[in-house]
């Protein structure tokens, strides 16, 4: 073998890079997130649980478009209770704790939705009302 001095370190770097997730995680299986269920005890969502897991972001985007671009802020009824279409108006009425609900999975999967560029969590909204 020729040029051992450069080729072997190069190959070592390559193998370390490819296997870096193994060393980074240190053989410790991650604990999957457990988002908190609505504190109010509500059982039903606007869609079944399985659909919401996969598609809540698609649904929220459709809601955003229909509310902001088509002015269709229709009422969503779940279990006889009426909600106005929207993240704060509907979703967060039950899922009131962003940190314990939204963020658990979003942090785990490193998803950084730009919902919160405009929207406020109920806690933030409350504090805003006090100051203004």
């Amino acid at each position: 073998m020729y040029n051992k001095g450069t080729i072997i370190p190069g190959l070592v770097i390559f193998v370390l890079l490819v296997t870096s997730p193994i060393w980074f995680n240190g053989f410790k299986a991650a604990t999957p997130p457990k988002p908190e269920l609505p504190p109010g005890g509500e059982k039903n969502c606007v869609m079944p649980k399985e659909y919401m897991r996969d598609n809540h972001m698609v649904l929220l985007n459709q809601w955003r478009d229909s509310v902001l671009r088509e002015e269709e802020r229709v009422v969503v009824t779940v279990d006889g209770k009426n909600y106005r279409k929207g993240l704060q108006m509907a979703c967060m009425q039950c899922h009131s704790n962003k940190e314990k609900f939204c963020d658990t999975c979003h942090t785990y999967a490193d998803v950084n939705p730009y919902c919160w560029d405009c929207h406020l969590t109920p806690k933030e909204a409350a504090s805003k009302e006090v100051t203004h």
Binding site: G10, I22, A30, E50, D54, L60, Y108
Partner: protein, 341 residues
């Protein structure tokens, strides 16, 4: 119709994964066994290929040069095009690996009436190759979020930049568009340019179609076919794979297994294909050698050390009598040589 074969091969792969993963119990094969096999083939095959190259002797000093070599003091050397030191070689290699400098010099030659040959700079290959390779790199790095826990901050920044247009939810990635554009160009080039088409083989078309299908299935999975694509569930599987405790949790959609199977195919195919240029670019003697054969003798490694250099003077010493007998002119006459001796 050699390019049609690649499509057939990839369609067959998609069918295998799409149908196979729906058979109960087969999820473990497609989700755990094959990924492990593929990554082992990739790393093992890659190392084997590089070691194989490292064992091949380079008999001559063969750097390609395209600039003024090191010469007299008042002649300016082109240090990047004709490097003589290791630092200059490193500079040339850096530009080649990160900016594909040799493709920047790509020219198009055409014969016009006359007949007259023209050479014209053609930077399209360079541009789209850069777009494709860098998009692919960013996509691979973005996928690391499924394998690392906690996710490093830099990956979040990369993802933020990639989705900066904030189109739709999940947000559209720029690199998803760029990689398709790059691949379409690289594929189209092989179909449209006559002389490139002539030299293109199945093993040129297949990786392009395969990577294109990987990108398309990834895009479909992210934006369109979201049924049973629960990212948390998928990340659990991915983390499980790299911590050697894989679990197949809830049902995952077929599109995920198709995407994963195509990636496994790419990884397993990689070491046995032209895709090894990833390692080969470092190993190419025409690029990683310094053009210093005038100042430093290049020893052919396969020379037998028992065979000593034989100068002309030594040759004449050995055969002088026979040469004089045969009337061949010699530099030292017989008598003079004997006097000295």
């Amino acid at each position: 119709m050699k390019y049609a074969f690649s499509f057939l091969a990839v369609i067959a792969l998609i069918l295998i994964a799409g149908l196979g993963s729906q058979i109960p119990g087969m999820q473990y094969l497609f989700g755990v066994v094959l990924p492990y096999l593929a990554i082992m083939l990739f790393v093992g095959g890659f190392v084997y290929r590089v070691m194989d190259w490292a064992k091949s002797p380079v008999p001559f000093s063969i750097p390609t040069t395209c600039g003024q070599g090191s010469s007299l003091d008042f002649i300016k050397q082109d240090k990047l095009e004709c490097p003589t030191t290791t630092t200059e070689v490193a500079g040339r290699m850096f530009l080649e690996i990160f900016f594909f400098r040799s493709l920047f010099r790509n020219t198009k030659s055409e014969i016009h009436d006359g007949p007259k040959v023209t050479y014209e700079s053609s930077k399209w290959l360079w541009l789209f190759a850069l777009i494709f390779h860098y998009s692919f790199l960013v996509i691979v790095l973005r996928h690391m979020r499924f394998f690392l826990e906690p996710v490093p901050f830099v990956l979040s920044i990369l993802e933020g930049v990639d989705s900066m247009l904030q189109i739709g939810q999940p947000a559209m990635y720029l690199t998803d568009v760029f990689i398709l554009v790059g691949l379409l160009f690289l594929y189209g080039r092989r179909l449209i340019t006559r002389h490139v088409k002539y030299i293109s083989l199945n093993n040129d078309y297949f990786p392009l179609v395969l990577i294109f299908s990987i990108a398309v299935t990834g895009i479909l999975m992210r934006y369109f076919l979201r049924t049973d694509i629960d990212i948390i569930n998928i990340k659990n599987l991915a983390i499980g794979l790299v911590t050697f405790s894989p679990v197949i949790g809830a049902k995952i959609g077929a599109i995920f297994y198709i995407h994963l199977f195509l990636v496994c195919t790419l990884l397993a195919y990689f070491p046995f294909s032209k895709l090894m240029h990833m390692g080969g670019v470092f190993m190419s003697p025409t690029r990683n050698m310094a053009n210093n054969s005038r100042s430093k003798r290049h020893i052919n490694p396969w020379n037998d050390p028992e065979i000593k250099p034989h100068s002309y003077a030594g040759y004449e010493d050995e055969f002088r009598e026979f040469m004089v007998d045969a009337g061949i002119p010699v530099e030292k006459e017989l008598a003079a040589a004997e006097d000295k001796a």
